[in-house]
C-alpha cells in the first residue's frame, strides 16, 4: 500500500474542502478503500478521515419516511427498530450483507459509493486492462472467467457487477440521495436510482467514475460528507 498523508476532518465543510484537493479521498469505514489501497487499485495521496464528524450518523424515522445519515453504519441501520418495522427490505439488505464486523465499520454513504468486487478490477498487477480503473484500456473480464459477473446491464466495455444489496432496496423505496455542497450552492438531491443507473457505460457501479476529470460529476462524490439528513432519504 502506497503511503499517504492522513487528515482528520473536524467539520463537514472542512472535509469537503480537503477532499477537493488533488489526490485526496474521503475515508469513512475504510472497508472498501483500505482494501483497494492494499490491492493497488486506490492510490490516494491524502485520506480525509470523516469518521469522527458528529451528527452525520443519525437515523430518523417519522410518518413521512426515514432519513439516514451518510455516516450511519450498516449494522446500526439494520438493527434500528423503526427501520426494521417500516422498511424491512432495507434492514434485511443490510444485515444479510458482508459480516458483522464489516457492518460495524461500513457507512451508508460508503455503501452507496463502494466499488465493484470484480476480481479483474481488483488485480491491476495481473490485469492491466480495466475500463473502470483506466477508461479506454479494455476489459479483462470479458473472455475471462465470467462466473459471478453481471448478466443484465452489461456493455462491451464492462461486465462488472454492482456489489451491494442496499441500493436495490433504496431504489425500490424511491429513495433520494442528498448531497452537501459548498455554501451558497444549496442542496442537491437526486433519486438513488440515478446514482446506480445501469447505463451500460464504462462504469455501471458509479456514474462519477471520471470525477477527477469532470468537475460537474465531481460534485457527486461529495455525498460522502452529505447529510444532515432531513427531508427523508427514504
Amino acid at each position: 500500500m502506497r503511503d499517504f498523508s492522513y487528515l482528520r476532518a473536524t467539520t463537514p465543510d472542512a472535509a469537503r474542502q480537503a477532499a477537493a484537493l488533488p489526490g485526496a479521498m474521503l475515508l469513512a469505514g475504510g472497508t472498501t478503500l483500505i482494501d483497494l489501497a492494499k490491492c493497488g487499485v486506490a492510490e490516494p495521496e491524502t485520506l480525509v478521515d470523516i469518521t469522527h464528524l458528529k451528527g452525520l450518523d443519525r437515523i430518523e424515522v417519522d410518518e413521512r419516511g426515514a432519513a439516514i445519515g451518510a455516516l450511519a453504519r450498516m449494522g446500526h441501520v439494520a438493527d434500528h427498530a423503526d427501520i426494521k418495522s417500516r422498511f424491512p427490505a432495507v434492514s434485511e439488505a443490510l444485515w444479510q450483507a458482508a459480516s458483522a464486523q464489516i457492518r460495524n465499520m461500513a457507512t451508508i454513504g460508503g455503501n452507496l459509493m463502494q466499488r465493484t468486487r470484480c476480481p479483474y478490477f481488483r488485480d491491476p498487477s495481473n490485469f492491466s486492462a480495466c475500463n473502470k480503473r483506466q477508461p479506454g484500456s479494455g476489459c479483462s473480464a470479458i473472455g475471462g472467467v465470467t462466473r459471478g459477473h453481471a448478466v443484465l446491464g452489461t456493455s462491451e466495455a464492462c461486465i462488472a457487477m454492482y456489489p451491494g444489496d442496499l441500493a436495490t432496496a433504496l431504489v425500490a423505496f424511491d429513495a433520494i440521495v442528498h448531497l452537501r455542497r459548498a455554501p451558497g450552492l444549496g442542496r442537491r438531491f437526486f433519486p438513488a436510482a440515478r446514482h446506480h443507473a445501469g447505463q451500460g457505460t464504462r462504469d455501471r457501479t458509479r456514474r462519477d467514475d471520471h470525477r477527477h476529470r469532470d468537475p460537474r460529476l465531481r460534485r457527486r462524490a461529495e455525498f460522502h460528507v452529505s447529510e444532515n439528513p432531513r427531508p427523508a432519504v427514504l
Partner: protein
C-alpha cells in the same frame, strides 16, 4: 525517500500508547509489529476472514481495514484484554470446554467476535449464532464446536 510519520495515541486494553507511525499503518500491524500484541492474527489482510477481529468502543471490527490513526480517541480491546486478573473470560473458558478450535489460528478472532455477538443479543439460537459469526472463517472446520461454545457462553451470560 523519507517516510513521513505522525504521532498516534492509542488506548489498548485500558493502556495508553504513543507511537510514531506512517499514516498507512493499520491497527493490526500497529498491534502486532509495534506493540507486541500478537494475539490478534493476520489472516487474509483484506477483511474477509475475521482473524484480526478486535473491539473498538465495544464493537467488533476488523483491525486489518482500520488505520491505526483512525483508532485514536477510541477504546481498543484485543484478545489480550479479555481475561480479568488471571481469570479467563467466560467465552474463552467456553471455547476451552467445548474444544472449539483445532490449529487455533482463527481462535482469538472467533472469541472477540463471540463476545460481541453475545453482547449484541445475536446468540439466541444456533442458526442466529451461525449467521452472526459468519465473519470468522475457520479453515480447520471447527464450526460445530464454535457454535456450541458460543451457545454455552450465551446461556451462562443469560443466567
Amino acid at each position: 525517500m523519507t517516510k513521513t510519520t505522525i504521532p498516534v495515541h492509542l488506548d489498548i486494553n485500558g493502556q495508553r500508547h504513543t507511537l510514531q507511525l506512517e499514516p498507512r499503518v493499520t491497527l493490526l500491524d500497529a498491534l502486532r509489529e509495534r506493540l507486541g500484541l500478537t494475539g490478534t492474527k493476520k489472516g487474509c489482510d483484506h477483511g474477509q476472514c475475521g482473524a484480526c477481529t478486535v473491539h473498538v468502543d465495544g464493537e467488533r471490527v476488523l483491525a486489518c481495514l482500520t488505520l491505526a490513526a483512525q483508532a485514536q480517541g477510541r477504546a481498543v480491546t484485543t484478545i489480550e484484554g479479555l481475561a480479568r486478573e488471571g481469570e479467563l473470560h467466560p467465552v474463552q473458558a467456553a471455547f476451552l470446554e467445548q474444544d472449539a478450535f483445532q490449529c487455533g489460528y482463527c481462535t482469538p478472532g472467533q472469541i472477540m467476535s463471540a463476545v460481541a455477538c453475545i453482547r449484541e443479543g445475536h446468540a439466541g439460537s444456533d442458526e442466529e449464532i451461525r449467521e452472526y459469526m459468519a465473519g470468522n472463517l475457520c479453515r480447520c472446520g471447527a464450526y460445530p464446536h464454535v457454535v456450541a461454545a458460543v451457545r454455552q457462553a450465551a446461556l451462562e451470560a443469560a443466567s
